[in-house]
Symmetry: C2
Subunit: 337 residues, 2 copies
Amino acid sequence: MPLTIYDISKKANVSIATVSRVLNGSDSVKESTKKKILDIIEEYEYTPNASARAMSLRSLRTIGILCADSSDVFLAKAVYLLQQELQSNGYESLLCCTGYNFDKKKNYMNLILSKKVDALILVGSNFIGSTEEENSYIRDGSAKVPIMLLNASFDYPNVYSTLCDDASSMTEAAEEMLRAGIRDILYLYSADSYSSKKKLSGFHTAMKRNEIPGYEDLILHAEESSSVEEIAAAIADFEAKGHTFHGILAADDTLAIAAVKYAHKKGRSIPDDLSVIGYNNSMLTEFCTPELTSIDSHLETLTHQLVTTLIGVLSGQEMPKKSLFSGNLVKRGTTNF
Amino acid sequence: MPLTIYDISKKANVSIATVSRVLNGSDSVKESTKKKILDIIEEYEYTPNASARAMSLRSLRTIGILCADSSDVFLAKAVYLLQQELQSNGYESLLCCTGYNFDKKKNYMNLILSKKVDALILVGSNFIGSTEEENSYIRDGSAKVPIMLLNASFDYPNVYSTLCDDASSMTEAAEEMLRAGIRDILYLYSADSYSSKKKLSGFHTAMKRNEIPGYEDLILHAEESSSVEEIAAAIADFEAKGHTFHGILAADDTLAIAAVKYAHKKGRSIPDDLSVIGYNNSMLTEFCTPELTSIDSHLETLTHQLVTTLIGVLSGQEMPKKSLFSGNLVKRGTTNF
DNA sequence: TCGCGTTATGTAAGCGTTTACATTTCTATT
DNA sequence: AATAGAAATGTAAACGCTTACATAACGCGA
């Protein structure tokens, strides 16, 4: 049976209030009694019960993190960074993997809210749906605790967004290709999420601004959750149907790796005959040969900003509802410009 | 201000005990009042306060998960699977990323224990050190709650281990190569963990049993935390020093990918001139061309068994202290046997 | 030595549940 | 119609902590 504050107070010959005071630091306690209590706590390895504390304080100092799939490379990295940031700010985190279904997301949100977390972080743009109905759970949740969005944006009271400007990053990358003289660019995407749409719109922007005729014909939508092999095959298929392209812009690094694989199989040389750009600048970039050029969305910066905003919100400060950063292109071997 | 069980009881014109009873299901409540209460709970979206519940029950129904780095592909997958398993058993999980330092591990363990989690899962063999001192924190922790080890083994009361028999899997893979006539096998490893040692010893077993002379000269230790590019370069260096090999056995998939990269760069053809086998059968296997042959350590099975054992332990049953599974080789394009 | 203002410590209520035990309300049997 | 026994519901204590408020101890000047 673990020790309680009451046991400690007895051993130290003081009241529980005094023990509580030295535990929490703030109030005035005589130096000698403080030392005595601290020694006893040390000796018996007493640790206060967090649930009891949460009841009194009405806060667990714990943040709920919701994430569709923590085994996804990008999301895993984000979760990791968030945890580091939270820990260094004295907060714990409760992680919940929801899958991609909106009903499940709602259920898990309620589950985690019942733990009385102080706030909720939703990791990834897949938490934003395309219908009012799909997003209602965010509205409901935000009535109870602040909701922080990583890599997505949603304008609603008590909802704070931190994200990379995917649209303009993509525009930037496309225009870089165009400047290098590559005008037949295959745009490859699969997910249908908020940020995926942003990226696609950024691509449109670039192509329209540069008046590339018929560019829409080179937009390839890969089945979601298909394997790298399947995507590579889909690209080969697409080419076999008569489309030609000398650049591939992929909405994430996995897709880009599939593109590189397609090139390997078809014997197209990278970057001479074909340039490839991925998105996220994840560790996957170093897995292919040559190494993958990719757009870095500065996850470290985003997570840091998100937690900073969160801490501010929790301490009652007025904080920006939306923090937008811009990404940048990290050039490696799959491009030669 | 969130609703409490008291608010609900008032609205339903019953006592809090009755509400609690319908919440917990077990006790007898008249069908009509049950429905009335359920309706009200539904209407007002009431969710019980988990901290309060934890106080009464002396259990949070929460499991602490400690993991060095949740952005590592293998660990991330393990954590994900564990969470799924725990959730389907009605447990929440509190994840804490500790880094690889033992002092930090100890600190985080204490932190998470103060949350009064019901048990602790340590993910990955890096939680086992090579000295008594390094492992003392596990002994201390196990005095408070059951400790479950994934992919590591430690014989101590209240510590339960679930793992893949890495040594024999590796022996198996090596002998498969030998049977295919490849006798000059480069063994590539980097980490220094418990399971890494097991794998190496499995390799020794195979080579000794088959009386391969001088095989030790082909064991290459790559600097930990070096990039794929650096490891590929290290292999090239090694070869330049006069070593020849026609098979590479890597202690994890990342190393194997580096091996494939080395082959690409040096123009050695896989699998005709060089066979490569990785370990973990992670999603990385599909990233290379050709796809990577790899040893599957059955993470799904391991995590399932671990949680099953855990649930048993928590409900007071006698459970096996150690569950050992064997891995198997999944053959893909980097081998032709 | 007295009394006053600090400073240190103690007392007890409250946080939202669960549950043993007590009480009330039914049902069925006589 | 009375009553035993079962079924449904209520009462109140307990879980381990924080903290407002009450009280005690101390130091200091007159």
